[in-house]
């Protein structure tokens, strides 16, 4: 370990000429980077730019095809994650790797036990956690079960796990994806504290705001290459966005004011209880009018998914839903997805890989998924008209700029953005009265985000009703004509985008109403 007093400024981490290919895909191309000790270094790039691959190499999950890693000035080989931990590297993954029914303490110790007997390790860990908590203001109840504590707390446990393993270098992969703005602020305070104590932090994100807020230097990756490393203070969001995408991008959505018409969707006292008896929706009511976008903001897991599932016809619910003034069947024979599609509800689901697409189906097969009962796709009672479907799919892919426009390619071979365009094309081209759209740009590159946003606004301008669910506050703020905030299965309030800001919405997302705060 280098002591801060030694003065020799070796970078905490230096990567030289790292390359890694997966088959024909060059995930990392000759990447060099120097991260100075005691700093927060951001790595930003679109999905698929190679950020995660690079960090996986650093953490020993992948072996680089070429290149060298230096830790504190010494060349280090990192063949596996044990070696990374030994070298003082800790990683906080996007998806936490915690055992749900273990306590915080047990999770911290897991894999770092001193001996076969658990008790001495737990006792040592308890002392250690206490001092870590004092040192970094990382307060967590060591005896709480993981399943009982919030996401923000779980993330702290992940950080504690790394610190318990004596990490000096902390890598955080998209740490704010699941946090409320307030929780994210808290995380940033903790990171700041860690930095002050001499830890080195690498923050991987695709959110420009976070980079600007807490990093000192930022490296931009594009298509496997490191396009630039700049001082954060000397750059700006538009410049970073341009470096990420390789061209100028519109960060704001260009749209005219809405001209809403009659109510298309009326939801009253909607309640959902899941298989385990947990109440997911606790009686929510709202309207969506023709020609407007209602944005549902909220931290993931507060009932938004269930709302979409009920409206899309694959979750049972009680309450009343009217579409164009007519009752919708919520539990009976016509409560399935096919019936919903017939009534004019189209649905772009939150998770296109699990729901919206069959990844092993070719694009043309996906282009009718859910609508495969429609008469125009049938040759006879039994057989589908595959040739006609292929032809129609090719035309749709052209109109929605899906690349490559090859209907015979499997869905899994398209990029996230192009997969989303296939789903979007399918749903929008049915000319629905109501479009449900969940996380429209999750895992989608910036270039495609623009296109998708334009399509949504265009549909609104045709007088369709749109229900937008997103965990990206920026997206909600820039697309919506009205915003409803969900927390714990309830709607905490409705706001107009021009009359609110991220801070107020963030409080609502955390369950605090404006008056109380």
């Amino acid at each position: 370990m280098t002591s801060p007093a030694s003065g020799t400024a070796h970078p905490a981490i230096e990567l030289r000429g790292i390359s890694k290919a997966f088959g024909a895909v060059q995930a990392n191309k000759d990447i060099s980077i120097r991260v100075m000790p005691g700093t927060i270094h951001g790595i930003i790039g679109e999905n698929g730019a190679g950020k995660s691959t690079l960090m996986s190499i650093l953490y020993g999950f992948y072996k680089a095809d070429a290149g060298e890693i230096f830790i504190n000035g010494t060349k280090t080989l990192i063949p596996d994650s044990q070696a990374a931990i030994a070298a003082g590297i800790g990683m906080v993954f996007q998806h936490f790797k915690l055992v749900e029914n273990f306590t915080v303490l047990e999770n911290v110790v897991l894999g770092a036990e001193d001996s076969g007997l658990l008790r001495p390790s737990l006792a040592r860990a308890r002392r250690e956690l206490k001092s870590l908590a004092e040192e970094y203001e990382l307060n967590v109840d060591p005896d709480a079960l993981i399943e009982d504590i919030g996401v923000g707390m779980q993330q702290r446990v992940e950080i504690l796990k790394a610190l318990y393993r004596k990490a000096d270098i902390l890598i955080l992969d998209e740490p704010t994806g699941v946090l409320t703005p307030a929780e994210a602020d808290q995380l940033f305070r903790i990171l700041g504290r860690l930095k002050d104590e001499g830890k080195t932090i690498i923050l991987i994100t695709h959110k420009l705001r976070e980079i600007m807020e807490i990093t000192e230097t930022v490296s931009v990756m594009r298509r496997g290459e490191m396009t630039a490393t700049v001082k954060t203070a000397e750059t700006s969001p538009p410049e970073l966005a341009e470096l990420m995408v390789g061209r100028k991008v519109l960060l704001r959505v260009d749209k005219k004011p809405a001209t809403p018409g009659a109510n298309v969707l009326e939801v009253r006292d909607l309640k959902v209880t899941d298989d385990k008896g947990v109440r997911r929706l606790k009686g929510i009511s709202f309207d969506v009018r023709a020609g407007e976008i209602l944005g549902i903001a909220g931290v993931a897991g507060n009932g938004q998914s269930e709302l979409l599932e009920v409206l899309g016809g694959y979750e049972k619910a009680s309450g009343t839903i009217l579409l164009n003034g007519e009752l919708i069947d919520l539990t009976g024979k016509h409560s399935d997805g096919q019936s919903r599609r017939h009534r004019g509800i189209a649905h772009v689901p939150e998770d296109r890989q699990r729901e919206g697409l069959i990844m092993d189906y070719m694009a043309w097969e996906n282009a009718i998924f859910g609508y495969h009962h429609e008469p125009e796709y049938q040759k006879s009672r039994l057989f589908m008209d595959n040739a006609a479907i292929r032809e129609a799919a090719a035309a749709k892919m052209g109109r929605f700029d899906v690349r490559p426009p090859d209907p015979k390619l499997s869905a899994k071979n398209f990029s996230g953005g192009n997969q989303q365009k296939i789903v979007l094309a399918r749903e929008i081209e049915r000319n629905p009265d109501l479009l449900l759209i969940g996380q429209p740009t999750r895992g989608v590159d910036i270039g495609a985000i623009e296109f998708i946003h334009q399509q949504i606004v265009a549909l609104r301008d045709q007088g369709k009703a749109i229900l937008l669910v997103s965990v990206e506050l920026d997206e909600i703020l820039s697309l919506s004509d009205r915003i409803a905030v969900m927390f714990d299965g309830q709607i905490m309030g409705e706001r107009l985008p021009g009359e609110t800001d991220a801070k107020e919405l963030g409080l609502l997302m955390a369950g605090m109403t404006g008056e109380a705060a």
């Binding site: 895909v25 729901e355 039994l382």
Partner: protein
């Protein structure tokens, strides 16, 4: 991204698996002091060397086509139906009842009746585990294998206590009446002026099996039902999103699977034995799993894999008959082929994928270099 070209998946992997099984089998034969080359020659000659041999090989293959198709249809819905044995047993019961108790004027009508009966009985036997899976969450692998035992016990009871002709000492039904006897290859080919071995059991149900291959192909890739079955098999969550009912797909795909397994009885019960005996299926229901795996759940692949297993069965029988190689060793050889082509698929696949990846990379480099220099 494609890891391997499709021809490697469809042709190369089964071929390498087969060669590995052959090499290992050869070592086993060497170990007991016999000559593997001679053994191989005897096997191949015994399975394909004469019309008589082909008559047996195709008879076995017919069984395997039916059970292989059965497993594959369930596979497409990601249901692992290992109850082909029981479903084929029940199919045999259906055929026996149909042939014994209905007055058929001619085999051409009798076979239609038998198709319906065998399919219905087989489907029924698959439908119960399917219902338990769909409604109660009982795992289909457990229930279908249990139903094999229940089917065997049921048949045992029926043959011993109910269906056995009065005065017979054997747990078997009486001989089916003459008009239900299916023509074998010799009788089928005689009008065309082609002579075929009269003693070989291959019969007209081989044609039904081929028709079944086409029917399954059309069902899976050309119909709306097949589209839904495959969609459900690939992703249950996506199927729910699309409004495809899991219950419906499980029940229907398992019924079709059971019906195909049941139809095997056309061959072994109606075509060959012409009566129902105990253990008539002889393990063909299980071979169907290996056939479906090796055939990549595609009817053409299943047809070819069934032929291969037909060769293996007939050749193995001749091998134990004509040499001093004991029948147990023949079983070992058959088991090795099943193991390598079915269960150990990944053992061959993973290294092969690596080879293809490495090959792609080295062949990609020279093509990118010149463009970069331009």
């Amino acid at each position: 991204m494609q890891k391997m070209p499709q021809w490697a998946d469809v042709v190369l992997i089964p071929l390498i698996s087969l060669i590995l099984a052959a090499v290992l089998s050869g070592l086993v034969i060497l170990a007991i002091g016999e000559n593997p080359i001679t053994a191989l020659t005897i096997m191949i000659d015994g399975a394909m060397g004469s019309k008589y041999a082909w008559g047996y090989t195709l008879y076995y293959a017919t069984n395997f086509i039916f059970t292989g198709l059965a497993v594959s249809v369930a596979f497409h819905a990601r249901m692992f139906n290992i109850g082909g044995e029981g479903q084929a047993t029940l199919g045999g019961l259906g055929v026996a009842l149909c042939c014994l108790y209905l007055p058929w004027p001619h085999w051409s009508l009798a076979i239609l009746g038998a198709i319906v009966a065998s399919a219905a009985f087989g489907a029924f036997w698959a439908l119960i585990p399917a219902w338990l899976q769909a409604k109660r969450g009982s795992h289909i692998v457990i229930t279908t294998i249990m139903f094999n035992f229940i089917a065997a016990a049921l048949l045992n009871y029926l043959l011993v206590s109910v269906l056995k002709p009065v005065g017979s000492m054997e747990p078997a039904t009486g001989k089916f009446p003459e008009p239900t006897h299916l023509p074998n290859f010799a009788e089928m080919l005689a009008p065309l002026g082609i002579s075929f071995s009269r003693g070989a059991p291959a019969n007209v149900s081989f044609i039904i099996a081929i028709l079944a291959c086409f029917a399954v192909w059309a069902l899976i890739w050309k119909t709306r039902l097949g589209y839904e079955i495959r969609a459900f098999g690939h992703s249950e969550s996506a199927a729910k999103y699309a409004g495809i009912s899991p219950t419906k797909i499980i029940l229907i795909s398992m019924s079709i699977s059971g019906a195909l397994a049941g139809m095997m009885a056309l061959n072994n019960v109606m075509g060959e034995a012409e009566r129902l005996v105990l253990n008539a299926t002889e393990g063909a229901g299980f071979i169907g799993i290996a056939v479906a795996l090796m055939g990549r759940s595609h009817p053409l692949g299943i047809f070819l894999a069934a032929l291969l297993f037909g060769v293996l069965y007939q050749g193995g029988a001749i091998l134990s008959q004509d040499t001093s190689i004991p029948v147990q060793i023949v079983l070992v050889i058959q088991a090795l082929v099943i193991m390598f082509t079915g269960a150990l698929d990944n053992m061959v696949r993973m290294p092969l994928e690596k080879v293809f990846l490495a090959f792609n990379r080295s062949s990609a480099k020279p093509t990118t270099k010149p463009t970069a220099a331009e």
